[in-house]
Subunit: 225 residues, 2 copies
């Protein structure tokens, strides 16, 4: 499903260059549950943005379900992304002055789903995450952990084949974190592919395989499940 070969990502900052990813090879089969771990600043989110077609590699090849991503223009990339990939951002990226229901329903706008059906599915996703009584709250009227759960509901509402989650339980106490993890396990056993960045050992242990990143490089020995 996901295949990166010799992928690097370099940020230009005036005269300086910051190497976020350095010659990275990653292969993720359809239906896998993979955890990505590494210190702060090691390149985890950068890797995830590339896998999620939100950013392009500086060099190297990325093929998604057999298609070379470099061959797709921005419109076709956006269409592929909105149909096949659900993304939970590390900083949530919720729309301000928009309530939780509308935030969660937004990805369905591109799928041609009726307004009534969009809101029905969005409400169901929010209830699944324990936020049935917060559907009318905007991000500023929600706690940090509630915003995080809205971001998770939004990533799942289109029922995507590939789910990418960047520290999805970072702001949740252990019981709510465990509920989110059991939701991901359920989606995995229903055949979804899940790639999840975490520094929580319990969450990492739930995955079938772990990828360790340090200073932009993948540590050896990660291929075994």
């Amino acid at each position: 499903l996901v295949h990166l070969q010799h992928v690097s990502r370099v940020y230009e900052m005036g005269r300086l260059q910051v190497v976020a990813l350095r010659d990275v090879d990653v292969a993720i089969q359809s239906g896998e549950f993979v955890a990505v771990l590494g210190p702060s600043g090691s390149g985890k989110s950068t890797l995830m943005h590339i896998v999620g077609c939100l950013d392009r590699p500086t060099s190297g090849q990325y093929t998604l379900a057999g298609t070379p991503v470099a061959a797709l223009d921005d419109d076709r990339l956006a269409a592929l992304r909105s149909r096949a990939i659900g993304f939970v951002f590390q900083s949530y990226n919720l729309l301000a002055r928009t309530n939780a229901l509308e935030n969660v329903a937004a990805p369905l706008l591109y799928q041609g789903v009726s307004r009534r059906e969009r809101y029905r599915r969005a409400r169901a996703a929010l209830e699944r995450l324990g936020l049935g009584d917060r559907v009318d709250h905007s991000p500023a009227e929600l706690s940090g952990g509630q915003q995080q759960r809205v971001a998770i509901a939004r990533a799942l509402v289109t029922d995507p084949a590939l789910i990418l989650a960047d520290e999805p339980t970072g702001n949740l106490a252990s019981d709510q974190g465990a509920e989110v993890l059991s939701l991901f396990r359920e989606l995995h056993s229903a055949g979804r592919t899940i790639v999840l960045i975490t520094h929580d050992q319990e969450v990492a242990a739930a995955a079938g395989r772990q990828i360790h990143i340090r200073d932009g490089s993948i540590a050896a020995g990660e291929i075994a499940a």
Copy 2:
């Protein structure tokens, strides 16, 4: 130092009311290290914003170092806050398009410190948090965990007597989280008062006392150290 009596905080949302804190009594002595725990949405950040003079109670009394906070107008409250309190926000609240050095130096502007001295102290605080090589990066050019450490450096740069931290290690892997915790312990043994919201059991165990909040109320039996 911090004394809340019968404090409530109610948010108005059109016709609805959301009770975030309900009749809360909290007393924190100068020099204590206290952890605040509770599920997502239970009122932890709301409590911290009131203690930090960033928000006012709907009812009840709050006295800080013997002064009733209700008697202070907004200007005197802001002066007290910028001199005596360091705050690490759950969502960092860094200034966009402003590099890490300027973000960290900003609180010193109100203290009448020379530009040269502001930058010297800001650089030292960033180096203390392992970000000596990221001083020129704006928040968009930093990872999540790096942004969190910039927010911590900014809270400490004025050497405040009271440090309030809202999930300060939420985005940090265990080794960097441990470094932040040892920094807080150092500040505590130097006599600073620390109140820290966390869901990480190891961090909570470092505190002398724990306060548990659930649905806006403090659970009984938290007074013992």
